[in-house]
């Protein structure tokens, strides 16, 4: 079985960041991991550890400087030019903050039709748009509204609908619920899992909630200071953490859930 995404010895730094800080200033260092088709992978790690950056490199929004990133067995550099749209169609992202990831001056209908217009060069039909919005549990009445007329949870559903409108193979969700009210977080996560099962998606989810990751993801990648501290099957990593770092994350998570209880 070939991996859907294959990262080997990948290094990344933001433009200019390395020049200023010298050799050691990689944002991502020596990253190797592979993602199997239709698996669900969680990426955890403290703030600033490079989770969002890793996601953007894997889906081709940021260009790494060293190492290899392959999608479907093809190096990302092969998707340049005409192939760029293929890569974009197959790799979609759900962003952290739905209010900021939708243009306030576009109606929901317009925002939802954008990926199809951009990637398929056609205006999606009304049926298509309605099917897209109903799939995430919203009614067609939201289509004519602007983002400020929807709640955060509704907006994230729109964000999910938008990313699924082009039928991607792999969905990257970068902390999809951390900007949402606690009461709707579970709903949105359940929606993501349902859609993953229905559509046979590969799902990569960034989260700092180890509880969520252990429930949703069969595999886990623990990031620290731009490196992978630990990776493997979620149950075994969480049961017998190899690194002190994962253990301390677990401890912190347990403390937090005790506090909540």
């Amino acid at each position: 079985m070939t991996s859907l995404v294959e990262v080997t010895n990948m290094y990344f730094h933001y433009p200019r960041a390395r020049i200023i800080a010298g050799e050691a200033a990689w944002t991502l260092e020596d990253i190797s991991l592979s993602i199997q088709p239709k698996s669900t992978v969680g990426i955890v790690g403290e703030s600033g550890s490079g989770k969002s950056t890793l996601v953007r490199v894997m889906c081709g929004l940021l260009r790494h400087q060293q190492g290899n990133v392959k999608f479907n067995g093809k190096d990302l550099s092969e998707f340049e030019g005409d192939g760029a749209n293929d890569l974009r169609r197959e790799n979609q992202i759900v962003f952290q903050n739905p209010r900021r990831s939708l243009d306030p001056r576009m109606t929901i209908r317009r925002s939802l039709s954008e990926p199809i217009r951009a990637l398929h060069n056609r205006q999606p039909g009304d049926d298509e748009i309605i099917a897209t919005i109903e799939r995430v549990g919203l009614g067609r009445e939201v289509l004519s509204r602007f983002p400020h007329q929807l709640s955060g949870g509704q907006l994230q559903r729109v964000g999910i609908a938008r990313s699924l409108s082009v039928q991607p193979t792999i969905l990257y969700a970068d902390e999809p619920v951390s900007a949402l009210d606690v009461s709707v977080q579970a709903q949105v996560l359940n929606l993501l899992m349902d859609l993953r099962d229905q559509l046979g998606l590969t799902l990569v989810m960034v989260s700092h909630d180890l509880g969520v990751v252990s429930r949703m993801c069969e595999e886990i990648v623990v990031m620290r200071h731009g490196r992978i501290a630990e990776a493997g099957r979620t149950d075994s990593v969480l049961a017998r953490p190899d690194s002190n770092y994962t253990a301390s994350l677990l401890k912190a998570a347990r403390a937090a859930s005790l506090e909540r209880a």
Partner: protein, 298 residues
């Protein structure tokens, strides 16, 4: 039965009329005030093409410096015996002409430059912005004098000078906000579904800085009117026999003792028009904000 009759009493026309009324009432007062002033201004200009109380530059030598209220001369006459109302109407024409041409050109070119700089490579951004700042630092009146020395005084000189003055303003004002928008999540989202930078600038950045551009445009209109008057006042702008508020104002200078009230007429015309454009811009900005006119759009 009576229930249904009250419902059918609301014909579709009634509903749409009441909705329209509600929508109009939700519009900001500044829009009405500014709109009224500017409509009046444009109306006067249009009328001046078909009718003025007296022909342009008709000298009524028997009635020089007639005070306001003189029969036949509602606002009086100037030193040469020209009817003040006629002069103001013709001057409005010149103000509108120069300010429309210069503002449209300067807004278009300046915004294009600003957006290009904001969308350019990070390495180029800083030097290009400094270049705009340099343009901004040039004293506009001096520029006008230099242009006048080359081209001679006149409306073309005034228009070019105002454009040269305003382009860096428009560019500088757009760079910052455009850069901010380019850093927002919905722009990254657009890239993630395959949009390219030109599309993003045209369809995400431009609409989202439009409130700013509207205000900028109205302020620039107002400034153009002031500058046109100033240049005419200094003798660099439009030349006789074309009427201009600025030149009118200039001529009243020498009459400060004989007819001090005369300076108020072009002065008030300039102030009201400038105010009108500023109010209109402010009102438009509020009215076009989707978050403000919630009821109007739902």
């Amino acid at each position: 039965m009576s229930d249904t009759s009250t419902i059918t009493a609301h014909t579709p026309e009634d509903v749409s009329v009441s909705r329209l009324r509600k929508r109009l009432r939700a519009l900001p007062i500044t829009l009405y005030l500014g709109g009224t002033l500017i409509s009046l201004f444009v109306f006067v200009v249009l009328v001046s093409f078909i009718w003025t109380p007296y022909p342009a530059n008709k000298l009524n030598l028997a009635n020089r410096m007639a005070p306001p209220g003189t029969p036949g001369f509602l606002l009086g006459t100037d030193r040469a015996g020209r009817d003040v109302i006629t002069e103001l109407m013709l001057g409005a024409r010149n103000s509108l002409y120069v300010s429309v041409v210069s503002t449209v050109v300067a807004m278009f070119v300046g915004t294009l430059i600003g957006l290009s700089i904001a969308g350019s490579n990070k390495m180029l951004q800083r030097p290009l912005t400094r270049l705009v700042d340099t343009g901004l630092a040039l004293p506009g009146i001096l520029t006008a004098m230099v242009i006048a020395a080359k081209l001679g005084a006149g409306n073309t000189t005034a228009t070019i000078a105002i454009i040269a003055w305003q382009i860096p303003v428009a560019a500088r004002v757009t760079i910052g906000p455009a850069r901010q928008i380019l850093a927002l999540d919905y722009v990254e989202a657009a890239y993630s579904y395959g949009r390219k930078k030109p599309y993003v600038i045209r369809h995400h950045v431009l609409p989202n800085i439009s409130p700013l551009l509207i205000v900028l445009g109205s302020v620039m209109f107002a400034a153009a009117i002031l500058i046109e008057a100033a240049l005419a006042f200094l003798g660099v702008g439009v030349q006789p026999p074309t009427s201009s508020w600025g030149r009118f104002l200039n001529e009243t200078q020498s009459l400060l003792e004989a007819a001090p009230y005369l300076m108020f007429f072009p002065g008030i015309a300039i102030v009201l028009t400038t105010l009108g454009f500023n109010l209109l811009g402010d009102g438009l900005r509020t009215a076009l904000d989707p978050q403000q006119s919630r009821s109007g759009l739902a």
